[in-house]
Symmetry: C2
Subunit: 166 residues, 2 copies
């Protein structure tokens, strides 16, 4: 296999199962689970459409995950904490938006710490569908919000992981 440059993949990555845990972002990149080294949204042109294929939620931006499998994810850019301007519907944000109309499944990875001084790890949470999109905040600090719904029929995440999700 070519580990030097993984192909952008829609859907599950061969050999990677729900609950698989990794220590570094670069591992996700090497395996093609999520290629950006820092970015939260991986995207590519798939069949003529520019879509997102995976996202990482590690708490840098606020997000919400409910036990029903609903995930509210915040768009990229604009640095909400710093209020450095509005987010723009481009790059990853646009790609994730385009997943709604194209019904493209998105891999979701959670980054979290098991304990206060533990290092971050990244856990594969499975495939989600982007079902809704809206903006939040006033002009000058506007961010995008995406509602994702976990696709049914996948293994559940271990409860000890859900417990630690921020």
């Amino acid at each position: 296999p070519d580990f030097t440059k993984p192909r952008p993949t829609v859907g599950n990555v061969s050999g990677v199962e729900v609950g698989d845990e990794f220590r570094y972002r670069v591992e996700l990149a090497i395996l093609g689970i999520h290629r950006p080294y820092q970015g939260g949204i991986d995207s590519h042109h798939n069949d003529g459409a520019f879509v997102a294929i995976s996202i990482v939620a590690s708490g840098v931006y606020p997000y919400e995950l409910s036990s029903s499998g609903e995930l509210i994810y915040t768009g990229s850019g604009g640095k909400p904490a710093d209020k450095e301007g509005d987010q723009k519907l481009e790059r990853g944000n646009l790609a994730l938006y385009n997943c709604i109309a194209t019904k493209t499944p998105v891999r979701v990875i959670h980054g979290f710490k098991r304990g206060k001084d533990s290092p971050s790890t990244f856990t594969y949470d499975g495939l989600y569908r982007v079902v809704d999109f809206w903006t939040k905040g006033q002009s000058g600090s506007m961010v995008f919000k995406y509602r994702l719904q976990r696709i049914p029929g996948q293994p559940k995440l271990p409860s000890h992981i859900v417990k630690f999700l921020r």
Copy 2:
């Protein structure tokens, strides 16, 4: 050996020889050759003195290397190209300065590209002594300059590497 957290080492690192080449900065960090993932100056408190133990010269900041083994290295911070303020004599800059009085040997690593589209690699150049220090530029864009002299008796760097140094 403990690969998880290399001890700060003054002088040569066991098993690493002049001319050894590496692909990624993280390799230098793992082996304890140069621990910072991005920073150009590695420092630590050695025997009561805060000193530098290694530097990376990869061309982000200007530097000069002469065939006589003299290296002019630019301090860190202030982002000279952007002129974002004066460099400060703190952190790595201070540590490198303290090497003059303490005569602490400093490991030098060169980062360069073999070809235009080749990836950067990092080559261990051996031990240098910091022999001089001055400032350059007007207030508001002032940077530090360090003159280092290669310690005699070490293997020469391959000429094909010297050729590519920027």
